[in-house]
């Protein structure tokens, strides 16, 4: 084969390769539809209508005071409720009209020798129970969460003292 003939073969091979590459390139250009789904809903909002108030109890006595979600106060040992307003916590929960919510309590923080624990909740007119509530009814425009708690006084309090232990109520969409 002459040199000219060899050159023609190389050109023909190059053209063939280009054809193959071009046809592969056409396959890469296939399209696919993409659907973007986006749902809209109302964020959860909490409005605290009332903190908890035990009223005035007997000073100088170690006792655990319990306030129920109905606002009644009981005491262990020598503790005694004496007077004053007894108020359960009251939080209004608003949000989705169809999405259930999970309610939980944590972050207990003592104050003045009084340690809170064992919060109890009554949601949307239901009975008193644990504050860990999963799948609670969708709050919609507003549902009420009543809150009670135990408060353990260590007996170091003197007459005239006040204490404000605290904790956190959290509501989430699951």
């Amino acid at each position: 084969m002459t040199n000219q003939g060899r050159g023609l073969v190389l050109v023909a091979s190059a053209v063939g390769m280009a054809g193959v590459l071009l046809s592969l390139g056409a396959a890469y250009a296939a399209t696919s539809p993409v659907t973007a789904t986006i749902a809209f809903d109302t964020p959860i909002s909490l409005t605290k209508n009332a903190d908890i108030s035990f009223g005035a109890v007997k000073a100088g006595v170690a006792s655990t005071y319990t306030i129920s979600t109905a606002g009644s106060v009981s005491a262990t040992g020598g503790g005694q409720w004496l007077y004053g307003a007894k108020t359960a916590g009251n939080v209004a929960i608003a949000g989705s009209t169809f999405q259930t919510v999970n309610i939980s309590v944590g972050g207990y923080s003592g104050n003045g020798g009084v340690t809170p624990s064992n919060a109890k909740c009554a949601y949307n007119g239901g009975g008193e129970g644990s504050c860990t509530i999963n799948g609670a009814a969708a709050p919609g425009a507003g549902k009420t969460l009543l809150i009670g708690v135990d408060a353990a006084a260590d007996g170091t309090q003197i007459a005239g003292d006040t204490a404000t232990p605290s904790f956190t109520v959290t509501v989430v969409y699951p």
Partner: protein, 174 residues
């Protein structure tokens, strides 16, 4: 190739900004505080009981000892000694909370047909009244309650007959 790049960019964008079917999530929290006050309980001590001394009432007589101890009989009976001993109790509390006085648990019999206690607070004898009508008292950490009696006889009391009668005075936080 440009088209391929475009499709790829769209796909990534959809994945990042429109995560299809991912549930919208939201949470809200609120801190609850529990106010608890400490006070001393009311302290009540009986300083003296009521003593009439010698009287000779007739049936249906009204026998009154005021809160200073002066005895008077309305009717046909007679008083041997016009000076009796009024009862006296002291009440101590540690704060400015209102206190109510509640008479009750009247116990009498024999020739006594009716009985009620008369009270004067903190030496204010000019304003003595039925203990049940005392208004709530606020702002006096130490209180003295002088107590008289108003009895109506049912029948004749035998000579030297002792007629034990009693009642309770309760002091309670309003």
């Amino acid at each position: 190739m440009r088209l391929l790049k475009k499709v790829f960019v769209l796909t990534v964008a959809a994945g990042v900004f429109f995560p299809g079917f991912q549930r919208f999530s939201s949470a809200a929290a609120v801190q609850m505080s529990a106010l608890i006050g400490f006070v001393n309980p009311l302290s009540v001590s009986n300083r003296s009981d009521v003593r009439f001394g010698g009287i000779h009432p007739e049936p249906h007589d009204q026998v009154v000892m005021d809160t200073t101890g002066k005895i008077k009989i309305t009717g046909t009976g007679t008083v041997e000694s016009a000076d009796g001993q009024p009862g006296s109790i002291s009440i101590t509390d540690s704060n400015d909370q209102s206190v109510n006085f509640l008479p009750g648990n009247y116990r009498y019999g024999g020739s006594v047909g009716a009985l009620k206690a008369i009270c004067a607070l903190n030496g204010n004898h000019a304003d003595e009244k039925d203990c049940a009508l005392l208004p709530p008292v606020t702002g006096m950490n130490k209180k003295t309650l002088d107590i008289g009696m108003d009895m109506t006889m049912a029948g004749a009391a035998a000579s030297s007959q002792s007629v034990p009668s009693s009642f309770d005075i309760s002091a309670v936080y309003q």
